[in-house]
Symmetry: C2
Subunit: 338 residues, 2 copies
DNA sequence: CTGTTAGCGCCTTCAG
DNA sequence: CTGAAGGCGCTAACAG
């Protein structure tokens, strides 16, 4: 573990010169620069991150906070966030909140506060006031994806619009008996994305003069195909009030619904139309009409936004970027049978 | 950003006493300890990680290297690795290798070398000799999951055994025309897991006196349902050599194969038996017989192993832990039709 | 263009 | 049980 002193001695210069030659931030003669670089390489010298941080205050490290890792939205977002940040010369420290409350709290009050990070990214994490206060006290830039955070730049889609768009698509096709499968709830640790999709669904119905029936909403406990399957069976098996269309608030649920319909001998879309949300790769495979939210694009913009903030903290920027959604029509929706 | 000096002044003691009181590692009177703790909390004092690292050499940080994040095996493993490491008081810095070669190289030669981490976890990453040399030079413990690394403790399943077990299951049921869907290749960046599964498959066939036909092996380009679907259609549509059973080297491929069979009017398992690998949640939903590899269990053991190495570097331990696999029989396999 | 010097914030001997 | 002092490895003025 050669240090800067070893390089300096070996090259016959001072440590300051080594530092300058290697960082390229100051005037050094071409000759000594090459010499120093050669010696450094020969000795396998790698600067110590902690010493660098201690003296400069910079860490070249970004804290990324997620509620889960092993779910589509999060692993997809993380994939591009980590890749892009590495390209930009940053390391990524990952904080997974899917743990007990004690450790969750410690992430906000300790880990993120130890001057370990230059900035924090929150991926769809909703925080309590005290958590936000702890985070804000660190006085580092915060950017957020998928949910609003006070004082942070934020990128998100309008989930209400997603719900409306999906429902309007079905209404336009003449459907009036439209059910929804979703996962709403008022857990303070999560954003209301799914409630908002439901709000959009209900608003669309009301504007079309249709009163949403309580029985048309089926609550699931997680975003799995199996859950969508079970919910759709309930919905479609109802002898009196079976819907002609289903709005599933994620593509995985939509896939489950489609499989349930098929298993019941119903044809999609002739007997029942299905719309999802996400544009998951499964939606493509199963030919499911969906609302594309382009998570990769959102993640790329998030990284770009953060790098801008880091370079130029004073710059004026929109606080909230409303990411556009798009209806992708595939084979799972058609006009209602008359 | 209160520092240790502020706390010391405010509490009327020396910085040394503050350090001792807060770390709890040395004798401090109960009285002053409480006092210091109170003052520290009031001032919102959080020790600086870099200063701590600089003086102790410890980082409380683990580097985790993965080839991808957004794939089942990796997001599942990461989920528990991050959670367990946070519980144990470690931060996790995540290095995603799914980037160009320049940045990949830089991860090994720079990022991981800056004394940023106490240890490195490699999740199914295969490295070149020079990458391994760079990593070894850092002189920190390395543990690996899913593939052997020289000098590292490693946890993995036997992929050859997985291939054999799946194939033997089918052979025992009287099948002789057994096809395989897989993803082999000789990319130096990846382990040969899928080739090994194929080796196991071919060995099992040979031991049963069956010569594996080249046409029975279908290569796919990634682990997606859509790929399994396309491959199975090819296999099952063959007018002369259609198999009666398919071994898919992942559950996602197996799901695709099952859907393809159904779309062709074939019944599973009456007309064609299907076996997968992983015990993915989809395998449960679709009733697919599979080889369980319990990724969560492997990840937990990996973390435990790493913590042991960290606590007691000299301790004798097995270099390679062979994680047990288990055949989970579901509804997708049955005796061959006579 | 290069060397000298003074810390960055903390832990850890060594005295008391 | 507590304080004083040195130093972890590096960068950023400030002189030369």
């Amino acid at each position: 573990m050669a240090g800067i002193i070893d390089v300096a001695r070996e090259a016959g210069v001072s440590t300051a010169t080594v530092s300058r030659a290697l960082s390229g931030k100051d005037y050094v003669s071409e000759h000594t620069k090459e010499l120093v670089e050669k010696v450094a390489k020969r000795l396998g010298y790698v600067p110590s991150a902690s010493a660098y941080t201690l003296v400069t205050g910079r860490t070249r490290n970004i804290g990324v906070v997620v509620p889960y890792i092993d779910r589509w939205f999060f692993s997809t977002a993380l994939e591009t966030i980590d890749r892009e940040l590495v390209k930009a010369g940053y390391d990524v420290t990952l904080y997974n909140l899917s743990t007990d409350d004690v450790h969750r709290k410690s992430i906000f009050t300790n880990s993120l506060a130890r001057k370990r990070v230059d900035a924090v990214m929150c991926i769809a994490v909703r925080m309590s006031d005290s958590e936000l206060a702890a985070l804000t006290a660190v006085n580092k830039p915060i950017v957020a994806l998928g949910g609003l955070i006070n004082g942070a730049k934020c990128i998100k889609i309008s989930d209400t619009s997603a719900g409306r768009l999906a429902t309007d698509h079905l209404l336009t096709m003449g459907h009036t008996k439209i059910a929804m499968i979703g996962l709403s709830g008022n857990d303070e640790k999560f954003f209301r994305v799914f409630d908002e999709r439901r709000d959009g669904y209900e608003t669309a119905l009301k504007l079309a003069g249709i009163a949403p029936k309580p029985g048309w909403y089926k609550q699931v406990s997680k975003y799995a195909i199996s859950e969508g399957y079970a919910a759709a069976k309930q919905l479609l098996g109802d002898p009196h009030h079976a819907p002609t269309a289903i709005f599933a608030s994620s593509d995985e649920l939509a896939v489950g619904a489609m499989l349930a319909a098929k298993d019941m001998g119903l044809k999609v879309p002739e007997d029942v139309s299905i719309v999802g949300v996400d544009n998951h790769e499964l939606a493509d495979f199963f030919g499911i009409t969906t609302i594309d939210q382009n998570v990769t694009g959102q993640a790329e913009l998030l990284v770009k936004t953060m790098l801008q903030v880091l370079e130029n903290p004073e710059q004026e920027m929109d606080q909230v970027i409303d990411w556009p959604i798009e209806l992708v029509v595939r084979a799972s929706t058609t006009k209602v049978r008359s």
